[in-house]
Subunit: 370 residues, 2 copies
């Protein structure tokens, strides 16, 4: 297993990560205090897809804002948007601000793509995020290259507190890495300092090095340590190892994929927990724990716990065949993406609210963080 | 001798620098080709205060623009402004654009000053530079922190081509340096790419590492290698070693110093090439080669070659006493600074032309360098 913000290799051992990164598990106790603050606990919490945290209890007992982001290195796939739906739910429940950083600088620095390509990905990704339906007056989406003037002074203050030895230790960067990516952590940490309130970051666990470093220097700069709630990776179609990857298209379903392609990919590539023949499957049953189609239903596509339980039982017993399970998932994904694209089309009319015109966006463009 | 953009230690051996940095000497041959292009050769050239270059001949035979800068780490002293007067002369002679970068980001990153202090120094320094009288429609003065949005994409393209190993080798930076200063060379190189024409950089020789690195990567990015003309350091008041330093006030005369303080400093601290007594001085004569007062006249304050020659001869013969030599310099400096401050007061009315409103400044604010 190797996990950095730029690479996830091997089977992710979440228990090991909790120990290595010094995280706290999302246990029933914290879920109980969470439950008191919200209408209904989100299924991503109940199912512990968001599995670990730092100081989530502090946020729940205080005022906080939300910060998450997207590195625009390609079209977005289904794994990318799960944290955004969760973030939107948090925004609705706590009526709070959301800041979404589009790290176009980072992706240009670490990918072979041209600056123009990254720019286009950023535009497409921003529309995808806008489709999710965040509060237009409480959400600010910004590209680093566009918002840099407002955050550069604070990024310099952060950079002044961090030397390359620390970057090597925290991110595993080497002297052969380019000087842009060595500096970049200063940029990704800035939004942790956007407000005086606590900052809660719902994101995938591979981003954790940034937050550990932020927590090390926050108080020296006169700010609060940021709080995290960490998500697991939606498993790649081809099996439970690693994370879905834009550069390996058979590992993922993209938000712009059509039904035929989705059907084809899931039939061909979705790793199955079923038996080699229908007869054996009926007799021995399938294994939903390793079946990616079932895992995707569990992670995101079947919100209803009772329906999910029935699918699991039927698959385990052999009543439900792998093809049938795949059909259930395909139907769910196709429906989800149809709705998503409708919203995305509508979002073209109001995406500028998130970027420039909404109440929070306007305030942010007037603010220089020094 | 130790020379980096952030420190100059020991006696500067310019011949050694020429070899180490791979520079060409300003010889009579290049001065002859220069002479053909201008009305009168500037005394800073004739006296070889600007002593070395790279591709100056290429610039003289082609169209070029000028780029220089200032790191606002304190009030400016007389040594700081010499390259600006020379740059202004080049602008007048060649009717070309001048870009002046105020590296407030760099100075915040390497000095112990607060961000606020650096900001104030920057404002004061910009007025000093405005007082010099550059063409208001052909000159753009910009603070990095203010202009960052326009240059950040190009800085990223530069950064992507440079790794930390290179930065260590070229600048002598270490893993214990902060990640801001490690990234900063990308920012200082951007103006070398502002125009399609050749870029000529008149600056002090300690800035050379930036330009060597720029020349290494320029063509890979589809641009021209920059050209340099390098100045010597005005020697510190206290003797010929090192350079004048804001942190050692007795080494320098500042642009805002009053007559009493100037007189006092030069009498007390200016290293003298004279003899221990008037009698001995009359008998043995003084040594203008090590006498800082004479060197300052030579470097900047006595433009008239004949007058300078007479002073040198009289001092060497013992006719001119050290006190008298110091009086000549004091009178020159006081007069110069009186005039300078008048211009500085006037510049308050038009400094915004350099920053925002002049023809070139307007164009630059409309341009994003990607």
């Amino acid at each position: 297993m190797e996990i950095t913000p730029w690479e996830v290799k091997g089977e992710v051992n979440y228990e090991k990560l909790i120990k290595e990164f010094g995280l706290k598990i999302i246990d029933n106790e914290i879920l109980k205090s969470f439950e008191k603050k919200v209408k209904n606990l989100h299924f991503l919490l109940k199912r512990k897809i968001f599995f670990a945290h730092r100081d989530l209890d502090v946020c729940l007992n205080n005022d906080f804002y939300l910060y998450t982001g997207r590195g625009p290195s390609g079209p977005m796939h289904i794994g990318h948007i799960i944290p955004f739906y969760f973030t939107k739910w948090l925004q609705e429940e706590f009526k709070t601000n959301v800041y979404i950083e589009i790290t176009d600088d980072e992706k240009f620095l670490v990918k072979t793509n041209s600056y123009e390509e990254i720019k286009n990905f950023a535009n497409e990704n921003i529309l995808d995020i806008a489709a999710i339906g965040f509060d237009r007056n409480r959400t600010f989406i910004f590209r680093d290259t566009e918002y840099i003037k407002n955050i550069y002074p604070l990024a310099l203050k952060i950079a002044k507190k961090i030397n390359f030895n620390t970057i090597k230790a925290v991110f595993g960067l080497k002297s052969s890495n380019n000087i842009g990516i060595i500096f970049f952590p200063s940029i990704q940490m800035v939004p942790c300092f956007f407000e005086k309130r606590y900052c809660l970051i719902p994101a995938a666990v591979d981003q954790d090095p940034y937050w550990r470093l932020q927590r090390d220097i926050a108080e020296k700069l006169g700010y609060k340590k940021s709080c995290q709630i960490h998500g697991k990776f939606l498993p790649p179609l081809i099996g439970l190892k690693g994370k879905m990857s834009t550069s390996l298209p058979t590992t993922a379903i993209f938000l712009n994929e059509d039904e035929k392609s989705i059907r084809n990919k899931i039939y061909k590539h979705a790793f199955s927990g079923g038996q080699p023949s229908v007869e054996l499957h009926r007799k021995l049953g399938g294994n939903p724990d390793v079946d990616v189609s079932f895992q995707w239903l569990y992670f995101f596509f079947e919100e209803d716990d009772n329906k999910l339980k029935k699918i699991e039982e039927d698959y385990r017993s052999g009543k439900l065949l792998t093809g049938e399970l795949k059909d259930i998932l395909i139907e769910k994904i196709v429906k989800f993406l149809e709705k998503f694209r409708e919203e995305r089309d509508k979002a073209k009319n109001y995406v500028d609210d998130y970027l420039y015109n909404g109440k929070l966006a306007q305030l942010m463009w007037e603010t220089i963080f020094e």
